[in-house]
């Protein structure tokens, strides 16, 4: 290689100059006019349709076309004509606006209101943007005002669009389009194809025209080629991918959920993604094991001794081993039908509302029983850990439909307090004016509404034939109906999916009125037959007459009936009820507040029943088979549910208890159950193959099994604090207290937590919280090494047997900070996304910096002050010497002249200097390989 001679410039190329063929100006002007018309017309049409201004399209499009064309033609004229023409147009526009200022102003507010209303409706109840108050204007209708406002706005946008197209600014055109339509797009309001295709075609054409050597020297043929190509592409896409036939692929939802979880888990206060910290979905397909480190996630203080389930996530839809949030459509339907007076309430405070009602009716204090204060130490800051019985939310948070509560800020709150009602102890006996604490969860039957409705002034004795009480006051009538329904609802049962026998149910009460026997229709028929043939039968019966005397027939309500039919009494013989002829009870006539409350609760219950009893059809046969195999005979069930049973526990309670018991007996608790094989559903694997799992498994299984039976149930996650750990001072809630449970809907009360995991106890009495004993087969549990029971249960004194092998405990020696459950995307699986995001951000930053530096340099080189420009060029040349490019004598002389000469540099000299700078830059890049040139160009900004 020849030695470089540093004193003499080397062989190089000067600035190339090109001669382009001259094009006629007419096609270019026509093209720009067409682009303007398509762009502003399309944008106007899209905005009108998406925001539903209900303005006629023809005048708007005409206005857009005329204004856009006029401005574009003026921009093509010579300078004087352009300035004067645009000034005239602007003056005309201003004068017209001034003359119609009031209707245009009113129209702007009306248009804004319409747009906000459209977006509120499109958000399906998630947002309510409200509206601005506006009074009508004399002489103008609302539609006229809106039209006037839109005409002026469209003409302004047309001028802006024409200017951008004339300047060939594709990025700004695209930005303008998104600015106008983003509010509607964010509410998933789809733009019309007729409007969006021209806009996209115009933006595409502008990009094609922009990729010339010089921005302003465009070639009309390129535009004439690109525009039809883009339009044709858009039209063909609309035809082949019809909007109405479009089905969003499920994988995209999965990816979106992962992103959302990853973003949520990036919250600065969040330690790791794992159990009880999900916000959008819980994925159990790769659940292998979970381990805990003992890290404190929350600190809680409460002046209550009631165990707390602090819920952060509610799973409504189960699909492909994943719990996701409800889409809110059922809840939206409910909101539309709920009474106006209840609009400010949320169904998640049903328990608290009920408590207020019942205490008020009993003339007791209706203030919350305790205040729960939570400090977020390391949990997901977006999650608001909501206890059951909450009365209201802290500032800065909001209910998310009927599912959970979230903070509005991404950073959440460090500390918040929640007023809570103690809902586990709340029975009011009719004859007492004090609350009797039976220690039962309020698994409510509708008849419990009586406690809110029955007043002391009504003495209810004797016959309950309400038909004879027709001359009673409405209040008494309804009260009698209510009490009559008490007995009926106390004896319902469910329509078993595997029992296709008659729906009728009979109850035989012996002669002494002590023993009650539940008999199916077949059994009754067989007893009758026996009595006819032999003259004797069971229960020491001797004749059919005796049988009929003690026999009471009840209509078997299915659970769907139970949940979806209104409160109604028995009729006729006061012992049976037929929904077709039922007489709904109007509680408002008894007590207005109670009546309104139950109307509200009933509407919600009906609206969400179907959604919360869904199971995937692929799993239904498996779940039914499991229930059959678990052997729920009708008789065994009925005998368990005898008159000795506390009716307030209700049938729901019994069903949940039985299923949980069966799960505990058939499966074992372990923190390392292993992941299901590829293609196998998570719960199928748990119920039929592995029989090992932890709270997530048991809660999911219970939820799906209850849904199969027709009981509305949901999956819930959060933190569980047993009663013996609560105190007025702060208690640390560690990560091993993350828990999952099932929520069951109790009519009148709302969603009630049920414990399904073996070994858990709340520390309060609860039918369904008894220990289920030691599992049948011992299973190695890698993470369990402590036999200490988690709570001291009132019901169970043998805590060692309860918790010896099943209580979750801190893993010995493991300081694993990440859960391998994959339920909400742990930090490891989010790492590639984080890295990708960082790389993307870095690339964008480099690009922006390069653009800014080169633009600034160009501005400095071309400024009018040649002295400053010369200094800028000299500085740049000095910078290039660091990269081995010598400073040419000519350049140095010119720079010195720029610095010291009184007259500065001439235009030619300045041009020459810039040319030398460009040549030096080329020299700096020459002789390097591709990667080095990339670095020099984009990092060093040569």
């Amino acid at each position: 290689m020849k030695r470089k001679d540093s004193s003499t410039p080397a062989l190089h190329m000067g600035t190339p100059s090109g001669t382009e063929p001259k094009h006629s100006a007419v096609p270019a002007v026509l093209l720009d006019v067409l682009l303007t018309i398509l762009y502003v017309g399309g944008l106007t049409f899209c905005a009108n349709q998406m925001y539903q201004f209900a303005a006629p399209n023809l005048p708007l499009l005409t206005d857009a076309t005329l204004c856009g064309t006029a401005v574009m033609l003026l921009l093509k004229c010579r300078k004087m004509v352009r300035i004067s023409g645009l000034s005239l147009l602007g003056a005309g526009w201003s004068i017209l606006l001034f003359r119609r200022l009031q209707p245009v102003a009113v129209g702007s507010i009306l248009a804004a209101n319409r747009a906000l209303n459209t977006m509120s409706v499109a958000s399906k109840g998630k947002y309510d943007f409200g509206s601005f108050p506006v009074s009508s204007l004399g002489g103008y209708t609302r539609n006229t005002c809106i039209l006037l406002f839109l005409l002026f706005t469209v003409s302004l946008f047309s001028a802006a669009g024409a200017l951008l197209i004339h300047q060939k600014r594709p990025l700004l055109c695209t930005l303008l389009f998104f600015i106008v339509l983003t509010p509607a797009l964010s509410m998933t309001i789809a733009p019309p194809a007729v409007g969006i295709v021209p806009v996209l075609a115009v933006c595409t054409t502008l990009f094609a025209l922009h990729t010339g050597l010089r921005r302003k020297s465009h070639s009309a043929p390129r535009g004439w080629l690109t525009l039809p190509a883009a339009l044709l592409t858009g039209i063909l896409l609309c035809n082949f991918l019809h909007p109405e036939a479009y089905i969003r692929p499920q994988k995209l939802e999965t990816v979106r959920g992962s992103f959302e979880n990853a973003v949520q888990n990036l919250s600065p206060r969040h330690a790791y993604g794992g159990l009880a910290n999900s916000v959008s979905q819980v994925d159990m397909s790769k659940n292998e094991s979970v381990s805990f480190s003992g890290k404190t996630m929350l600190r809680v203080s409460a002046n209550s001794d009631e165990a707390q389930y602090l819920k952060s996530f509610t799973g409504s839809n189960y699909q492909n081993s994943r719990w996701t949030l409800s889409d809110g459509s059922a809840y939206q339907k409910f909101l539309q039908s709920c009474p106006a007076s209840m609009k400010g309430h949320n169904v998640q405070t049903l328990m608290a509302q009920y408590e207020q009602l019942i205490r008020k009716s009993s003339k007791l204090s209706s203030n919350p029983d305790s205040t729960l204060t939570i400090q977020n130490i390391a949990a997901n800051s977006r999650c608001l850990f909501l206890p059951y019985g909450t009365a209201s939310l802290p500032n800065g948070s909001d209910f998310d439909r009927d599912l959970c509560a979230r903070f509005q800020s991404i950073f959440g709150k460090n500390q918040y307090s929640l007023p809570v009602y103690a809902c586990t102890r709340n029975n009011v006996a009719i004859s007492s004016s004090t609350i009797i604490h039976t220690g039962n969860w309020p698994v409510f039957t509708p008849v419990d509404a009586a406690f809110a409705a029955v007043k002391d002034s009504v003495t209810l004795t004797g016959s309950l034939e309400w038909m004879n009480s027709s001359n009673q006051s409405p209040h008494i009538q309804e009260s009698l109906k209510l009490l009559n329904s008490y007995n009926t609802y106390g004896w319902y049962t469910y329509n078993s999916f595997f029992d296709t026998r008659s729906h009728d149910l009979f109850c035989y009460t012996d002669a002494f009125g002590v023993q009650h026997y539940i008999l199916g229709k077949e059994k009754v028929d067989s007893i009758r037959k026996q009595l006819k043939e032999k003259g004797t039968g069971p229960f020491q019966l001797t004749s059919e007459t005796e049988l009929d005397k003690g026999l009471t027939q009840y209509y078997l309500l299915s659970l769907r009936d139970l949940y979806t039919m209104p409160l109604c009494p028995s009729i006729g013989d006061a012992k049976s009820i037929r929904p077709a002829t039922a007489y709904p009870i109007d509680l408002k006539k008894i007590d207005s507040a109670a009546g309104t409350f139950f109307d509200y609760e009933y509407a919600y219950r009906k609206a969400v029943y179907d959604e919360n009893t869904q199971v995937p059809e692929t799993l239904r046969p498996m779940l039914l088979a499991w229930l059959r195999k678990a052997n729920y005979p009708m008789n065994a069930f009925y005998s368990g549910y005898s008159s000795n049973e506390d009716t307030h526990a209700g049938q729901i309670n019994a069903i949940v208890t039985l299923i949980a018991k069966e799960l505990a007996q058939s499966s074992s608790y372990t923190l390392s159950p292993g992941a299901p094989p590829e293609g196998t559903d998570f719960i199928d694997y748990f119920l039929n193959t592995s029989h090992r799992g932890y709270c997530v498994h048991f809660a999911t299984a219970e939820t799906l099994l209850l849904r199969t039976l027709g009981i509305p149930a949901r999956y819930a996650e959060g933190y569980y604090i047993p009663s013996n750990k609560l105190s007025r001072s702060y208690t640390d809630v560690t990560d091993d207290q993350a828990h999952a449970w099932v929520e069951v809907y109790a009519p009148g009360r709302g969603w009630i937590p049920f414990e399904t995991t073996p070994g858990y106890s709340t520390g309060s009495t609860q039918d369904n919280r008894k220990s289920y004993g030691t599992p049948p087969k011992p299973t190695p549990r890698a993470a369990v090494n402590s036999a200490a029971p988690s709570t001291a249960s009132k019901a169970e004194s043998s805590s060692s047997s309860m918790a010896a092998s099943s209580a979750p405990a801190r893993s010995a020696g493991t300081v694993s900070a990440t859960s391998a459950s994959g339920t909400s995307g742990n930090a490891g699986s989010d790492l590639p996304w984080v890295l990708l995001l960082l790389c993307l951000l870095a690339g964008v930053a480099v690009f922006l910096r390069h653009t800014w530096v080169t633009a600034r340099r160009k501005r400095a080189f071309t400024q009018a002050d040649t002295k400053a420009a010369g200094i800028a060029v000299y500085t740049y040349l000095q910078f290039l010497t660091e990269h081995g490019v010598p400073l040419e004598m000519e350049a140095q002389q010119l720079c010195e002249k720029a610095l010291f000469s009184k007259y500065g540099l001439t235009a030619t000299e300045m041009k020459r200097l810039r040319s030398l700078a460009a040549d030096s830059a080329q020299q700096a890049l020459a002789g390097h390989n591709v990667w080095e040139r990339f670095l020099l160009r984009w990092i060093e900004n040569i």
Binding site: A190, L225, L237, Y246, A926
Partner: protein, 370 residues
């Protein structure tokens, strides 16, 4: 084009993110639109690509050192469909000095003919060879590109040095040296092997030169005038070494051309020799035409390995050798050889070693006597 691709990739990425987070139909439509439109324009590019051609033209006249040799790259698209941007990678080489550089140029989208002028400036003399090594036609968005395969598009132009005008005095001994086989057309001599003219007798003419036949015919005494054989000039051996800097190489060529011009102006024919390839090339310089030819050949010469030209030169020649070298001579030269060294030398130049400074050739050759 890189910027377009980056922008397109960024917009695709944004569309993908939009597709993930926006559940409506519009997101899928937008992504498909972004994917389809460039493909559509790419297919539209094909007819234009098939009817595309390019030509590179050299400047009509040679240029001097430091002047811009303007090459013209003309691209033509005979299709009605315009092409996108055309990118060309150009290799420029000075064969004499060995300097090479690459340059990328871009032409605006073409429909019809479009020309681009490429001013190439060389501070050194030599032969500029410009070749278009890669020609790429892009689509309308600058995303896709097709390489245009065509025969080599090349052009060449000479960069001539500024030859100073000066005289080289020759000693009488030089005149008495060998003569060439050519005779002076303007000056008579005594060599009767070639007649210069037939004239009337003047006192002093040799009686042996009387042309008796013509005398008898004319009646006056006529004599034959002999011609003057032209003296053979020194050989100018140009040593262009690879290790030398471009300045030295250029200076060597310039020096040789200056010497040749000076000698020719004094009517001294001579030979200029250099190593071309593996053989020693020689060019007899007699007139302007041969000078032009010699200049073209010399400027097209390639530098060789150390002292290869001298090694190939036969020292048995009787001619004086003027050894013009671009590097410090490391070979032993005949005593009568005058060496012109264009490289910086540390030792004192002797009478036979003249240090020539680039740009100051005239000063170096002033006072030279052969």
């Amino acid at each position: 084009m890189t910027k377009s691709r980056i922008l397109y990739a960024a917009s695709l990425l944004a569309a993908i993110f939009f597709l993930i987070f926006y559940i409506g139909y519009f997101s899928m439509f937008l992504l498909l639109f972004l994917l389809c439109v460039p493909l559509c324009t790419f297919f539209l590019l094909l007819p234009a690509y098939r009817n595309f051609s390019a030509v590179l033209a050299a400047p009509e006249k040679p240029v001097c050192c430091g002047e811009a040799a303007v090459f013209s790259l003309t691209a033509q698209c005979r299709s009605r469909i315009p092409t996108g941007t055309v990118c060309a990678k150009i290799l420029c080489r000075n064969t004499l000095t060995g300097e090479t550089f690459w340059h990328r140029v871009r032409l605006s989208p073409i429909q019809g003919k479009s020309a681009l002028e490429l001013p190439i400036i060389s501070p050194y003399c030599g032969k500029l060879e410009v070749t278009v090594t890669r020609l790429t036609v892009c689509d309308l968005f600058g995303i896709f590109s097709l390489r245009y395969h065509l025969p080599e598009i090349a052009a060449a132009c000479f960069v001539l040095p500024k030859i100073p005008e000066f005289l080289i005095p020759f000693s009488p001994k030089a005149d008495m040296g060998n003569k060439t086989d050519e005779y002076d057309l303007y000056h008579p001599g005594n060599d009767l092997s070639e007649l210069f003219a037939v004239r009337e007798y003047r006192p002093g003419d040799s009686p042996h030169s009387i042309h008796w036949k013509l005398t008898e015919k004319r009646g006056i005494l006529m004599v034959r005038q002999g011609s003057l054989p032209l003296p053979a000039g020194p050989d100018i051996l140009v040593e262009l070494q690879e290790e030398s800097s471009p300045t030295a190489l250029s200076c060597a060529a310039e020096t040789a051309l200056a010497l040749s011009s000076a000698m020719l102006s004094q009517g001294r024919q001579h030979h200029v020799l250099w190593l071309g390839g593996t053989e020693l090339q020689s060019c007899a310089v007699r007139d302007e035409d041969s000078t032009v030819q010699m200049t073209a050949w010399l400027l097209s010469a390639h530098p060789q390995k150390q002292a290869a030209a001298f090694a190939a030169y036969s020292t048995a020649s009787d001619q004086q050798l003027l050894y013009v070298t671009s590097a410090v001579p490391a070979v032993s030269l005949p005593e009568a050889t005058v060496t012109f060294c264009c490289a910086p030398i540390e030792t004192n130049a002797g009478s036979n070693l003249i240090a020539v400074t680039p740009g100051h050739i005239e000063e170096a050759l002033q006072g030279l006597t052969l």
